[in-house]
Symmetry: C3
Amino acid sequence: MSLIQQRLQELDISIPPAPKPVAAYIPAVRSGSLIFVAGQVPFQDGELMAKGSVPSDVGVEKAREAAAQCALNALAAVAGILDGNLDRITRILRLVVYVSSDADFYDQSQVANGASELMQKIFGDAGLHARSAVGSVSLPLDATVLVEMTLEAE
Amino acid sequence: MSLIQQRLQELDISIPPAPKPVAAYIPAVRSGSLIFVAGQVPFQDGELMAKGSVPSDVGVEKAREAAAQCALNALAAVAGILDGNLDRITRILRLVVYVSSDADFYDQSQVANGASELMQKIFGDAGLHARSAVGSVSLPLDATVLVEMTLEAE
Amino acid sequence: MSLIQQRLQELDISIPPAPKPVAAYIPAVRSGSLIFVAGQVPFQDGELMAKGSVPSDVGVEKAREAAAQCALNALAAVAGILDGNLDRITRILRLVVYVSSDADFYDQSQVANGASELMQKIFGDAGLHARSAVGSVSLPLDATVLVEMTLEAE
């Protein structure tokens, strides 16, 4: 079993199946050692686990979990182009976490921590990344969070 | 005639003139095989082809066309640093499509497809990219769409 | 004294101390010659120098200064992983400037110029970058501006 597989098992986390390519774009693209992942919303078993703005529709804690789910979906997209072997990931480089926000909500960082902390849990030091958290007036499908990930792989 | 030139002619698409560098930043920058393009708004013949939010000011179909125009303007910026030879583009890597959105508009993906589908039409498989579509409360010059592109070139 | 140190002294600009790593993510990450910097808000001496939306809470001129401060904080983050030697920066590649905006504010570019012009002042031609300026409904800690930077270093 790969190291990351083992770590995921210890954490009781399973990577979802890779998202299917849609007509106009694909889940992840590689250029040299860089992998650019398409923006992920918090689909879980085929349904969005959080919809609407924080905090009027969704609380911060639920939004944090949704951010983690987005990051997990990003890893699924990466697995799809790394033959399922996440041990080939050498570094999570960058996350942008867009949070559907009420105009007076300023805790996007706390929401984004859901994604960031999960990366550190799974990858250790290689999971430490640069991050931006920003508020968005609305996101596709009324998702509460959208995460864009860039990473490095061998 | 270059392959991409020929393809553009078949599609009856012409790449606009490269945007002029402004004082403080430039249309596109190269680092190794990566090209980072400045965010493009849907200028067409010197005027924005779509202004305001979707859908209150601009319908989805018009916004889709505007997203395609943004992508075309991004290619113009790239042409400006590739001696006009778009055949040197080896891969469209990443698009971020910001859509000026009403708070209850959730079809940013449909708008972004205007840009994504155009890249696939022009570049085939090399046009398949990772993409994020997000809603924005307002964009520069009241543009309906702003597209940021990252790509790979030889 | 390094060239950039000298230039900073001429401009009477001092790079703030490198931001401290927080639990879940870090200020800057390197991959090959690329450095990805975490989104920076306009902290100055430990306090945000501009809070709220443009223009209802903060005027354009103040927001411009805040954008410049964000860029300076990004350089501080970079200094933290380049042993403090900013001469190793070979190119500022990309800025994304998120501006907390009223729904009818469309001059995000003018705000973003505060960051862009500072990069050019400090780095000359190597400071010329690709840039996106976008409006945001709200930003972390109610910051007026958040800047994400990507750059190239040796």
